[in-house]
Every structure is written in C-alpha cells, then in structure tokens.
Symmetry: C2
Subunit: 362 residues, 2 copies
Amino acid sequence: MLLKDFGLEKIIHGIVPANKKWIEKAQDRTGRLIMPTRALGKLHDISERLCGIQETLKPSISKKAVLVMAGDHGVVAEGVSAYPQEVTGEMVRAFLKGGAGINVISRQVGADVWVVDMGIIPKLDPALLEGGQWLLVNKVGPGTANLAQGPAMKRQDAETAILTGFHLAAELFNKGVEILGTGDMGIGNTTPSAAIGTVVAGATIEEMVGRGTGIDDEGLQKKQTAIRRGIQVNMPDSDDGLDILSKIGGFEIGGIAGCILAGAYHHRPIVIDGLISTAGALVAHKICPTATDYIFAGHCSEEPGHRIMLNYLGLDPILNLGMRLGEGTGGALAMGIMEGAVRVFREMLTFDEANVSNKESA
Amino acid sequence: MLLKDFGLEKIIHGIVPANKKWIEKAQDRTGRLIMPTRALGKLHDISERLCGIQETLKPSISKKAVLVMAGDHGVVAEGVSAYPQEVTGEMVRAFLKGGAGINVISRQVGADVWVVDMGIIPKLDPALLEGGQWLLVNKVGPGTANLAQGPAMKRQDAETAILTGFHLAAELFNKGVEILGTGDMGIGNTTPSAAIGTVVAGATIEEMVGRGTGIDDEGLQKKQTAIRRGIQVNMPDSDDGLDILSKIGGFEIGGIAGCILAGAYHHRPIVIDGLISTAGALVAHKICPTATDYIFAGHCSEEPGHRIMLNYLGLDPILNLGMRLGEGTGGALAMGIMEGAVRVFREMLTFDEANVSNKESA
C-alpha cells in the first residue's frame, strides 16, 4: 500500500478506545484468582488493559519486537551533547552487531530488534553489515536542520516520518508481533524531546531539561538556550502534532509516533521507553488522543522531564531503575514484567478451581 | 551433616562481606561498556554486587530456585486475619498443584519452587499430593503459640527453624542453584512480621501495621493490640535475633532467616520478597549483620511497614508495583530484572570492541 493511500486522516478515524467491556470482564476474573483482592497490584492493571486492547480474556504478548528508530539532529551544532555526532552511526552499527544494551535486553525477554535509519547522516549499506540484526533504511533526510535556527524539517517530512513508523510497525503486526517496544538512537535527541515536552506538557525549560548523555553545566546552559530559541523562532502550535514535530522534533521521534498510532489502529500494545519515545508519544497523543489507551510506559527515566511528560499522558511507569540509556531498553525490560502479568492472569487458579476458602467464608 | 554439628556459631564465623575488590573490578568494566556513564542505573549496582558475592566478572544466576516456607500462627486467635486459618494448608496444596502466584511467576523466570512445611497445622502427605512441585516436610511444630499471650515458640525451636532453612538452602546450592528467592505462606503472618519490624527497626506499631490480606478497621485495631501486648508480655531483646524470633516470630520466618544465612555462608545471592521475608532478613541481620551484603530486596510491598524495614537494612527495592501477595512473588519477579542486569554486564560490548567513540574524544 502506498503511503498516500493511507494518510493520517484514515488512521485517526480507525482508532477506537481500548474496549471497556473486556477490561471489566478481566477485572471480574482477577477477583476470582486465589489471592487477597488485587494483591499483585499493578500487574492486574497491566493484564486487564491488555485484555481491553486485544479484546480477549486470553491476552498474549509472546511475540515481541522492538523498533529502534535512528536519526541525526542539526541542533548538535549548538553544543547540546556530550558525544560527537558520528556516534549515532557508530551505535547503529553496534546495534547491528547485537552488542548494545537494547540487543542484550531484547534477547533476554525474547524480542526481535529491528533498527530503522529514519534519517542518520552516514549511509550504511544493509547488505554489508555483519551480525544477525536487521537494518531498515527509510531516510527522511540526512539529519534534521538546526531547530534553534528554524524548523527541524518540512511539515511534509514530519508526515512522512510518522507514516513510515506506522507502516513499519503495521508490517510487524502483520507478521504476528503482539507487542512492540519503541527505541531511539540519535546524538542530541534529548534536546528536541525536551522541547516537545516543554511545548506540550506546559512545563518550564528548566524543569524539562536534563543532562542527557552527561553534559556539564555549560552544556546544560547551551541546551536550555537552544530550546528557548527553537520555541521562540518556530512558535510551534501546541495543539498540532505535525507542526510540533516538524518545527522542533526529529525523524526518529516521528517514526516512534507512527508506531504508537499503528499499535492503536491494529489493537496492539506499544511499550514506550524514556524521554525520546515519550516525546513521540506526545506527538501521537496530539494527533489522536485516543491512541494513548494503547501505550504502556516501560519505565521512568532519570531525565527530569520524563516524569512530567508521563504525568501529562496519564501513564504510570512500570519500572523505576534510574535508567537513562534510551534505545528502547526500559521498554524492553518492562516487557518481562508485562509477560509476568499476562501469565498470572491466565495461569493462576481461581478459588473454585483450587478449593481454597475465600474471605467471605471466614 | 547433623544440625548439632553445624550450629549458628559456626555459620556466623563462616560469613564474610561481599568482596569489595571484585565489586571495584566490576565497576571498572561497567565504565567501559558502550553507553553514557552508568546509564542503566540500578542494573549496574545489581550486577556489580553479584560480582562481589560470586567473586567473578562472569556472574551467573541462571539456575534459580524459590523456597516457600509455610507455617501457622497461634496469634490468629486474636482476630488478626481476614482469612480463616485453614487457608494456610489449602494454599500449600495450591502451590503443589502449580496454580498459585509464585508458581506462575517462577515458571516465567525459570525458577524451581520448593515448598517447605516449617510448621503448618494440617499434616500433608507429600506422596499423596498431585502436581509437579515438591513438598519438604520439616515441621518445627503444629503452628506457633499465640504471641499475644506468651512466646510464640521455645528458643530451641527458633534455632531449629533457622538451621532447617539454612540446610535446605545449602542443599539447593550444592545442587547448583545460583540464586535463591525466599517466600512465605501463613495466615496471620503479617502480625509477627510487623511485630519484628517494630522491635528491630524502632518504628511505632501504627507505622508498621497494615491490613495484610485485607482486614477492616476493627481487624486493624485487633492486630495493633495483639502486637502491643505481644511486645509487652514477651519483652524481646532487640539485639538478640533468636530471642526476637522465639518470642514474636514464626517458624517460616525462622526458615527464611536460615536461607539468608546460607546464602551469605555459601556466597550466593538471596532475593527477599515482602514483609514476611524481610522480617526473616531482620532476624538474620541481628544474628549476623554481614549477611545483609548477600540480600537483594525484590520489591517494596504495599504493606506500610515494609519500606521502614528495608530502610533499616539499607536495601533498595528493585520493583515498586504495589504488590502485597507474599509467597515470594515479588522476589521471583525481580529475578527477571536481575537476569537482565547480569546479561547487560556480560554481553554488552565495550567502546573498544564496538569501535564507538567515547565522550573523551568529543
């Protein structure tokens, strides 16, 4: 299917809320399992929401995948990152070797990793790359423009980025993937992400901006200045997801937003990771608020703005482990907990099945 | 080996701190992995402590087990539980059927479950029980005495309970188990656990006592009164672990304390669960403070006293999911996160191996 045949309007119209009736049926089953009322806390919330998303009392997230979206950022010219820009491409190569954090954690939880070149500067030839991972080349451009000076990309590029993410995710769902994690790689990408958080969640730049991969005080100042200037120069419309993405976003952030819309459209849960994935979630939310029903927040990052963004979306993070790597690592790790939630829901006996006395008989 | 040949004194003398040199070597390796400095947060603390415990840079927790210690409690006569006492035995049967929370989560993380009758009231014949789980019968007695009226058990029984836990855990280690979770079953056992927390951690009864499996306001009052009376009547010596366990403890709590001492003695990590396991940890800590080096706190329970107890021990819980089931479920679920930490430590490439530019080259 061509992108133009499947535009954002059609996607938005195809998205409905997670099914409340199935959630209620699931809550009823939880109440009959052999334990004090809802004694496994958030595990029940997770499994019941999965029932609502998949419209079943036998939810399954066995077939897992992570899409790691990579892109470069013109705003690194402002001195906002502790690492040189070439690290984006170097890390993509490391993903393809299977040796980065996201590869390791995905192997543990049984998730396939797909790496997407959404717009990094170097040209990597997938055919020449070693290792067992896949590189999907879908460059929207060779890195974004510097958002501190003008729009990061054209509005049309923003739409292309989102539709690319949508179609890549949809293809995985067609192949049987039941849960999708979103990941990111892009030196400098905490800057557009914090900018999006500032505009959408209404926080101050000081509250939103952290040290990313580890900048010093001077770098922190530069980052705040770049974001302040980017917002002043571009004046993004905080109600228009495409406008926000094009003016102060990134190609990989658009790809992530597309994944989320695809999950919502195809009734599949999406697990987001840290600051960058959540910036993608904010863009998706602005385009279609209902899509948020399909998002699970894998963890809460050490980046200070992340909690603010999650609160705005009404999402409760599964893990709190002081992580701030990105790549999708927090989301992938949380898939193990979600798998536990599903198994408890499906495999734990009921009071009747186990012949255990319930509270009422006391 | 007979219990009398292997007393507490010998155990205490055999316990040394986790090895600081191996922890430092591990921290050095973490610093060379391809990510910003310690970007996976607590995962690094976990893997490095495991290196210190196992004295290696190739820590392994592949072979996992959970020992679920069951016991009955005379203090239920005070009306402290929402469930009838026969549920203890019924739940042990459910464990042996493989249908309870701990069975489900252990299957997910690949841990064997061993159920131990440390002193429940009913007599269960292991030979007659269905299902693929194991029941180890090591009754110290048919339930404890009512701690609100006098000591829960004799001092000698307390020592027997601890040594039983020690030897059962040691046997698993001899069979190759690399990480052991502690679990519990015993209607009424949040009462002795909160009593132990009050005495050891120095909190007030009001701070320590929660609703356990779900008692109402009247039950909460009764529970607080039972604990207050138990402490007044028995006057446990807050510096003597055996005295605390015998006067206001439980058989399964002693067994858990023994598991922890065994982990410390045999250089194996122990993952504790919620309030009851942590009461066992407080007893073990009082007997041998160094043993705490070998304990990982799987999660923080909804029971209000649990956080106080963990703080006293200086333990940072891995998960915070609002769980309060016990059985070992929080510890077992956390094993999945610990496994991720080990894999990241062992499998992630270094900057040199991956040819990725580090920060210094920026």
